[in-house]
Amino acid sequence: MDELELLKKDWQKDDANYPKLTFDEIYKMLLKKSSSIVKWIFIISILEFIFWALISYMLKDADYNKKFQEYQADNIMFSIMVFGYLIIIYFLVRFFMNYRTISVTDNAKILMENILKTRRTVKQYVAVNLGFIIISAFVVLSIQFNRDQQMVSIIDNAAANGELLKFYSITIIVTLVVLGVTVGVLLLFYYLIYGILLKRLNNNYKELKKLEV
């Protein structure tokens, strides 16, 4: 006899052996809080939005802006700021639209796809923010090279000593290293959080996709 048939026969006949929860016991469960990954993904994603909004807010704090007014580059900073807000709005809208499509009553594959899609939106948001920070850093640096009085005099000095190339390369390398370390730490953090949170979902999704080949 087929092994699974034997199992099926047994599986269907031992109904009486399952625990019987009472009406009240089940009723109490309705009041409990869910601990599903969707809930965690939602919380973490919202935290990420807040975190990045704070970062870009801090980068635009008053002192900084004043300095840029000195450089007469505040219109550039203003465009960067508007662009930053547009990015947040765009991704928040997409995030909520994707989040709302997650439904436990869809079939397993669609459910997994919708969860992964929601996550991907946040991932893209973070990637755009990182890109944004890197570009901003270089824009700021080039403005400083040209317009910051202190910087201009340092550059002039360096040029007089014949160390202009050295000065530029050191500044750029230091900036790159700082950016690299920041991005690296963030990526590691993401890798850990989502590695833990989404490992099972990713594995199961891959397994389902494999069936299609």
């Binding site: 699974l4 199992l7 979902l201």
Partner: protein, 164 residues
């Protein structure tokens, strides 16, 4: 009205609770996580209940939500200390009903099923629940042909686990 709806839902769940217990039986290994998963499925069912349309059977709908919770939404409980093996206490097969060989064989079979991955378990679960391939394919989101092929592969895999 809401109260009525709640009462009605709980009554339905009470009646069909075995479906959830069965899902928990396949996906958890101890008493605490069985309860954890049971509770999570109940919460997910209750949340999805407003969207439940009477045109599908409550039990059919439960299979889908139950499995989705087990293979996608549920985060395995942190409690790793094994208390008591739930299946051993709760699902003891009474010796009088079976001869020893069959009992032994069943035990091995259940152990083999536990070694399958989440998706394979889901297919086995629906199969054991006597669902046809159309229902299996609709619940999992794969084609009927692929469901059949996978089921055959699972049977082979189980055989390999049983007779290494």
């Amino acid at each position: 009205m809401t109260k009525d709806k709640e009462q009605h839902f709980v009554a339905l769940l009470e009646k069909h609770q075995n479906i959830i217990h069965k899902v928990c039986r396949l996906y958890t290994y101890d008493y605490d996580s069985h309860n954890d998963l049971f509770q999570e499925i109940t919460i997910q069912l209750w949340r999805a209940y407003p969207k439940f349309r009477g045109d599908s059977k409550f039990s059919t709908w439960m299979y889908r939500v139950g499995l989705n919770t087990a293979i996608t939404l549920y985060r395995k409980s942190k409690r790793r200390i094994k208390t008591q093996d739930f299946s051993d206490i709760q699902f003891k097969i009474s010796a009088e009903e079976y001869d020893d060989t069959e009992e032994q064989q069943l035990k091995l079979l259940y152990n083999a099923v536990r070694q399958l991955n989440d998706i394979e378990k889901a297919l086995v679960f629906l199969y054991l629940e006597n669902k046809n391939y159309r229902e299996i394919s609709e619940t999992m989101g794969i084609s009927e042909v692929n469901a059949r092929v996978k089921m055959n592969r699972i049977k082979t895999k189980l055989r390999t686990i049983l007779n290494p």
